[in-house]
Symmetry: C2
Subunit: 338 residues, 2 copies
């Protein structure tokens, strides 16, 4: 750090998450001395605004990290595997938004509201969790501390943004084609997304769960330090632009108490309680969009089981599910050094 | 019945479900001798096509049921409470699509694939279940017979059609406004439905569950003759036009077996197995639309529990969730008399 702040690199700066990292750093007044925007050759020369100043995108290569203090990687697992080492060797601390390092034993996987202590063990790279895992973790960690979660059943309602800017554009294009009575075309998703929904389009593994669902299982277990926590996820893509929702039923060690759950969530960092029964106002992706907090509501008991609680959650996939959690990790690292 | 078939009345003929009842009767070659279309005063004189012939809508009143053999009611619970008795007194058998009689002890609530035997106890009226309950019942009844279901956790992805033709139009209008960059207006739903989703907009009861969720609980229990079956439902409205989807996790008496579950479902009436792991092709509302069958797939075991199975279901809300199940009930009643 020099007196003006840190030298920051954003890898994958032109992507949906990359752009949000810039916006979140502005919003949080992240102490940036110098900013370097890195991307593949095809984006070189593009200009992006940061705090009112234009920055030209430079080509991502190993030499680009000289002098960088913090590097945010959001260009996919392949790019991360190729360039994270170079960034670390250049002296940067990397916050990696890809899945490349998340399950490596010596890499902390962190949601600051859940396991900030794990940051201490970083060896130059901290992994940012999968979007659904991050959002779920914020919502249920306070309940885990209060009641002791023994099992999670979760069904997701995942927006197009999780598949990137092109996927969001595809939803917009398909809806436009529908309105204009033109043929609906598919390029990004294997199935029509407008007016439709489908099982998350990652490969289904031998265990019957797709990659997204397996990430959710493994990452929650790692962050919660509960390596055997039973989780039954169903990941579904829905025609929403950018916030993810999750229908969650937890089973607990201790009997649940709805009022206690509400109280605990109301004072939990990163959570916004949206649970207005009178007004029928609960978490919705449209209201979660742009919010750094995760919206939590529809809190109610399993009618047949005193040790089970249901809730509904919406969180901005590009913010808490990606960019904001990454910037927040860097903020925590800075705080720890202070 | 005369030699040409039965005298049939459709109450609420101009509504989303009413129109589908006509289409399903055509498709099934339901033996209609005379057809009477009934609706409120405001629809009188409108003409609807049935088997290539125009029928004028007549006003719904107690005298309208003279000579009717089968009356399909789909005009809401208030209309049903007002006129079902008159239809029965006139000698008709009523299939009622509203919630008015579903939970009455002396009224059978029937999905023909599940509890056709209950039809025998009808006293002139048979209730057609809530759309989510009907679709869920078809999908899990074969698994209940095979493995013995002890608990159900279900999250729904309900289309606009469940709230009627005006709600479908509202989704179309909002999407059009979005494309044309006009202000999005709400008339039918309390929240924007385009690019959004929200907790089902029925009143939340003292038990913490909304009306839709309580219907799901009570109706599955009644049809399955399992008055205490634990069910944890979360009902969510999504921006899909007309088929409902459901993410379901069941817990069972006997250990589950994925292959056995697939075999059982593949040969179950009313079920279409859509479970292509290689092609990542599973139930989707777009493919369920227009299908009389319920699509079932994503069949997999709970990784931590040998007595638990997950699946994903899509069914046409207007068909198996309403019109088709109603016509099917009438078909069963006719078969039983033959």
């Amino acid at each position: 750090m020099n007196k003006n702040g840190y030298n920051v690199a954003v890898v994958g700066a032109t992507g949906a998450v990359g752009v949000e990292i810039l916006r979140v750093m502005e919003r949080r007044k992240f102490p940036v001395a110098n900013l370097k925007l890195l991307a593949s050759a095809r984006s070189v020369g593009k200009k992006l605004d940061f705090n009112g100043k234009d920055y030209a995108v430079e080509e991502l290569n190993a030499a680009a990290f000289a002098g960088i203090d913090y590097a945010f990687f959001s260009a996919g697992a392949t790019r991360s595997r190729e360039f994270v080492d170079a960034a670390i060797k250049a002296g940067a601390v990397v916050v990696d938004n890809s899945s490349a390092f998340r399950m490596k034993e010596d890499v902390p996987l962190v949601v600051p509201e859940v396991n900030p202590q794990d940051l201490q063990n970083n060896k130059g790279v901290v992994a940012n969790p999968n979007c659904c895992a991050a959002i779920l973790a914020v919502a249920i960690w306070p309940l885990h501390k209060e009641f002791g979660i023994k099992r999670i059943v979760v069904s997701t309602y995942q927006s197009a943004s999780g598949a990137g800017a092109q996927a969001m554009a595809e939803l917009e294009d398909q809806v436009k084609s529908h309105v204009e009575k033109r043929k609906i075309e598919k390029k990004v998703f294997p199935h029509q997304i407008a007016f439709n929904l489908f099982s998350h389009n990652t490969k289904v593994a031998a265990n019957g769960y797709n990659e997204e669902e397996n990430k959710l299982i493994e990452e929650i277990r790692k962050m919660f330090h509960e390596p055997n926590l039973p989780i039954v996820p169903t990941c579904i893509r829905v025609p929403v632009l950018r916030a993810h929702s999750e229908s969650v039923v937890i089973e607990t060690e201790k009997p649940v108490d709805v009022e206690k759950a509400r109280q605990v969530l109301a004072k939990s960092p990163g959570v916004k309680l949206v649970d207005n029964v009178e007004q029928n106002h609960f978490p919705m992706p449209l209201e979660a969009t742009g919010d750094l907090d995760v919206l939590v509501g529809r809190i109610r008991k399993d009618l047949a089981n005193d040790h089970s609680l249901a809730l509904f959650v919406s969180g901005d996939q590009l913010l808490k599910g990606a960019a904001w959690n990454a910037v927040q990790i860097a903020e925590e690292l800075i705080k720890a050094k202070a």
